[in-house]
Subunit: 527 residues, 2 copies
Amino acid sequence: MTKTKNILFIMADQLRWDYLSCYGHPYLKTPNIDKLAKEGLLFESAFVQSPICGPSRASFYTGRTVFSHGATLNQVPLPIGELTIGDYLRKDNIKTAVVGKTHMKPDKDGMERLGLTKETDIGMIVSEPGFDPYERDDGLHPNNWVKNYSTVLTYNKWLNSLGYKGDNPWETWANSAEGPNGDLLSGWKLRNSNKQARIQEEHSETAYMTNRAIDFMNENKDDQWMLHLSFIKPHWPYIAPSPYHNMYSPNQFYEVVREDKENQIQHEVYRAFTNAQVSKVFSKREVREAVITGYMGLIKQIDDNLGRLFEFMKQNKFFQNTMIIFTSDHGDYLGDHWLGEKELFHEQSVRVPLIIYDPSGNADSTRGQREKKLVESIDLLPTFLEALNSSTSTHRLEGRSLLPLIKGNQINDWRKSVFSEIDYGLHSARDELELGPHEARAFMIRTEKWKYIYYKGFSPQLFNLEKDPNEFEDLGQNQNYEKIRTELKDLLLKRLINRKNLLTVDEKFVLKGQDVESEGGVMIGVW
Amino acid sequence: MTKTKNILFIMADQLRWDYLSCYGHPYLKTPNIDKLAKEGLLFESAFVQSPICGPSRASFYTGRTVFSHGATLNQVPLPIGELTIGDYLRKDNIKTAVVGKTHMKPDKDGMERLGLTKETDIGMIVSEPGFDPYERDDGLHPNNWVKNYSTVLTYNKWLNSLGYKGDNPWETWANSAEGPNGDLLSGWKLRNSNKQARIQEEHSETAYMTNRAIDFMNENKDDQWMLHLSFIKPHWPYIAPSPYHNMYSPNQFYEVVREDKENQIQHEVYRAFTNAQVSKVFSKREVREAVITGYMGLIKQIDDNLGRLFEFMKQNKFFQNTMIIFTSDHGDYLGDHWLGEKELFHEQSVRVPLIIYDPSGNADSTRGQREKKLVESIDLLPTFLEALNSSTSTHRLEGRSLLPLIKGNQINDWRKSVFSEIDYGLHSARDELELGPHEARAFMIRTEKWKYIYYKGFSPQLFNLEKDPNEFEDLGQNQNYEKIRTELKDLLLKRLINRKNLLTVDEKFVLKGQDVESEGGVMIGVW
């Protein structure tokens, strides 16, 4: 029977769970991703540990909640003591390359304290962090940042070599459009989201990263590997090359999901989020119309490129021994609930697509099925380790392998709730609410029926997802729901207490108990 | 005005809060410690983060709860990413030496992953961990361990040089008595606790460590330093040299604090603790009578040696510029509540003495006073940093500087509850209850009036400390106290959520907000 040798871990950035045809989008057809779902298992209830890029990714990579790993905000390095996928798999001599975005930064203070520099092998891996470097590109390169880079971005070098001129063709060609008089229309500005990017599709970031994934596979046919192909899109700048820039029109969009009564909700944190510039802007019809056009085009483009990649993999027999995961780091409000961007816990933000294709015969019984059980992004790393039959200790991991679900095993003790959290310390809402740097925290517990949000320093929110799947009616202050709120708060407490904090020894140490001492000759309580 | 230049941080091991005359012991007179209290401030309600040696010390040293630093058990290394007092003060060029016990171990896996070895300067400091090595001696040296040491223990070398023969005079002389026929009576056995150790007092561990503290001060008169003088006693082996071995007799003991009804308590975890061998043994009169004799003698001996040390410090003008702290890492049941050792949360176990002498004029208004406010061991490191006017960032620290209390400031927002926790994974109770390695956890919230204990997987305990200061009546299941239990559980949740997990950036980063991105040219939500 075929076994899993390699892992291709594909992530799209800011892709909502419901913007794929296999997740129900009526107009955005994604046949290649749908086909993966038909050959694998589609998870209908997959949630991220935090609906913010950096913290969410750090949880995917460490297999630990944000509460545990501590990279609570974007731009915040994962502490040097945390282990990532790369650290785990490297022990089994598996290459762990990244093509695209991780949003991770090196823990410079931690490295300096321990005398590590990027120039050493260990220092380089730690600063990646954890992965083997291959084609790391975090995908946001505004001009002022590019000026400060010590080396030219590989993607920019490539664009230059193709004749796209300038210091930062990432911005001026790949993420800009052109006006009628040849003037540059920046992709940063949402009004340009339905215009055509000044680049040929095959030179865009999505195509380039797909090429690089193919390069990696070609170069490593004989090795065992885990490749993290991490697309930068459909994250903003929301601007797509032809023919994707005008493939969709507003009559093919989802209706906006919002009600006037939401705007009257008195919850302070929600209100502060709706007051943010990005929320005000996304609440306008013309903004949605421009942005969603670009957003859907970028997703369609990813699907086409994945078709190209999967075809290559089939021709080169990678499909027989490679587990393929497709997911996203969080969603995008796109004006729903009077909000833009992500960060809060509505389904649009915290729920993601998750498809796992397992090449092994074990998975045959679930191919093409849809799994309703609640899963979390921290479940992926344990899944990888089990699929690869890794010998690495998993005592730090807080998720649960999905392999039993993929095998179609009967499982009676699966989790009944998922957990997510945010630190909105870098959001304008923290300023508006005049909170200190450690105060802007909120925690979600979501069961099949309920969504409970505990805000540090504020009253909670509660939604009945069965009766109110659109989360319009906040029951957080309703006296009739005191009991259910208490129960859900209890689940939150239990979840926090379950944090794995015993990092430096594994379970075997604990199970050995006091034998370590008594074998040494220590006597406790001997008369 | 005099300012604090140095810090002398004295810790006794396993010293109960109430076994000093300044804390009310009627027969055990400790005039030197009492005098320190008269010249400083005595804290009446000081609690440790965990009533277990290693975890408790790790919290003293890191300024972080066990929940956060993760060294939840004895013999478990602090993760390499955690910073200790040494790491904080070294940045200000302060020497940070240890004389005696820390119970800390190097994080070998963490070091190996980062390519660090003990042989390098950084590796040595990390493996200490954090402190500069001076006279580190963890104070438990059974023969089978000593055989495996790569170098001879310095204290053993010294004893050999004085004529105490053998491979391990720590055990055979300093921690053994002699029978009538010259046979060796091991101090490990509790029955020998009221016998005379085979060593002259001035050669005992307590005297030796005091000498080494004096050596350190003599050698470092011109430098700024933090010396952690960490006595190994009155921790077991409970055996004292003459004249301390028979200074106290049972009519000078506290009455045993226990009631038959406690023994009928149906709380599973408490019952499993009372079933441990050490608890059964300490519940016997003859064991208490032997052990407490030795225990009180060892405490008296520490007081006398501190008298000698303080006299040296006065003569050498160290008293003018050295902040002196006296405390303990946890208590000792000594048969109270039908228990031996420590680990659970009764006052005998979790409450400690804490005296702080601050040489600066700022502290004059509180000299000789007794402070009732609830304080925790994680408050010490912030106190040291403030006293030394350190510039180090305190964003990882979870405690609060005690300096405002020492200065006698009016403080209206002081904490209303203290927090402590245990992982009883290495205790026989875990076996008896058939718990997994991550399941043996419990958490205490104690206010002035209430003590609430949340057990993972078991019902809670609740005590009314006003009406029932001896904690005989467990209200954990009593229906009438549902509301107060809910309130206290809420405090626990709040406390857990307050964990400082943002390690790699400080508050300034958060307060800068999205400026980092917008200055770079990133535009979010711009039409």
